[in-house]
């Protein structure tokens, strides 16, 4: 871990997860400190309905504000946003969200790649991309682009992941900065926050 990678220039963390990532996300949320200055966006593959349940579930693990991302909403530090079910979540250069109900990408909507790639465009090197367990290639390309734009990329150790395919895909095509177990991620995020 080079010093510059772990500097405090970051503003947004985007976490992408699919099959087997729920427990990891809950674990990360439980670790996050109250004073976190980073904004967090969670893109989770799931069935069409039940998004409000997801917000409730996530809220129960953290004292930070958790909410479903709304279109044109401004991204605020210390807030946790969840991509709504069945829409792609895009990030605009003015740090607001757009929603888009277009074709699925990697059989998925929301697609992790779509959020990663637009987040790279908007945040560049102040972006942290985290890819977790899953049985799908979604997110790998986004991780690669984040890396190219000098963002920080962190992928769940495939051996630690319930389903190794998704993190393994990212590691195969990108020079990922950190390959870590799910349980270590919360503490790393805390360390990358200004306060």
């Amino acid at each position: 871990m080079a010093e510059n990678i772990l500097s405090k220039k970051y503003k947004l963390v985007v976490i992408g997860g699919s099959a087997g990532s729920m427990e990891v996300i809950l674990g990360i949320l439980a670790e996050l400190k109250r004073t976190l200055t980073l904004a967090i966006v969670i893109v989770l593959h799931r069935k069409k309905n039940g998004e409000s349940l997801l917000v409730d579930l996530f809220s129960s693990r953290t004292s930070l504000v958790v909410k479903e991302a709304e279109e044109k909403e401004k991204i605020l530090p210390g807030h946790i946003y969840v991509a709504p079910a069945d829409y792609h979540l895009l990030i605009e250069k003015d740090f607001t969200f757009s929603l888009d109900f277009s074709e699925k990408v990697h059989y998925s909507r929301p697609s992790i790649d779509v959020t990663f790639e637009t987040a790279v465009d908007a945040y560049g090197e102040s972006l942290i991309c985290i890819l977790l367990s899953g049985a799908n290639a979604d997110g790998a390309l986004g991780v690669k682009k984040a890396k190219e734009a000098k963002g920080l990329t962190m992928v769940q150790n495939p051996e630690d992941a319930e389903v190794s395919y998704m993190p393994a895909q990212a590691i195969a095509i990108a020079q990922v900065d950190l390959i870590v177990n799910g349980a270590e991620m919360g503490a790393i995020i805390n360390n990358l926050s200004i306060q």
């Binding site: 279109e71 757009s98 465009d121």
Partner: protein, 270 residues
Amino acid sequence: MITDEEVDWLLSDLLEVYGYDFTDYSRASIKRRMSRLFSLDRFPSFAEFRFKLRNDEEYLKRFVEEITVNVTEMFRDPTFYKVLRTEILSVLATYPLIRIWHAGCSTGEEVYSMAILLSEANLLHKSLLYATDINPSVLEKASRGIFPLSQMKQYSENYIQSGGKRDFSSYYTAKYEYVKFHEDLKQKMIFATHNLVSDRSFNEFQLILCRNVLIYFDQHLQERVFSLFDYSLESLGFLALGSKETLRFSTISTNYRQHSSKEKIWRKIS
């Protein structure tokens, strides 16, 4: 992948050559759609992509079709239609002539759904359904009323969830892989191109539906379109938006009251 600068060039070409103004669409979304089309159509270089767009009117059609999102469904969000059915139609029933505007109707599934609701409430005979879109090819499809048979299972489920009591298949005739909705549903529909960015109000309505269109517009353009709707809506009329859209942040919102907190329906109160 297309760069931001290239996106700007294409946007100004569209405006300058064809008069289509997409500059106030959500930029991340537009950029993604353009990049997608660029790789889908396998252009060897951006210059060739741009040349084709500037010089080939046929390609313009494809371009507009592909950078806008046309996905739609019958009885999309069934609970929305349930509220229309149980709470809104009874108000509309008091008018001698019911005028409804579907702005951004795409291939028309929403309009046929509405016609079914109206016909079941015995209101279709005194209704007019104006269905508009920027894209003439989707309107062409909408006016035919022919949809893939493969969708009907889903649509029938949506219909039932919306409170429909009939056999959904009684509304269409199936032939091979397609179904054709019955002519009587179509009788009160009027299809026309209308660009929400540049065209003006053309009538007054008691109900305007503009669902899943505004999410593709930036805040500035949304505001413009809201004032167009405000201007086109009778007092006490209803404005219905998509499930992720809201009137809340717009300046006209003070003249509107949300009909129910769950569904995106607002009533004009002044």
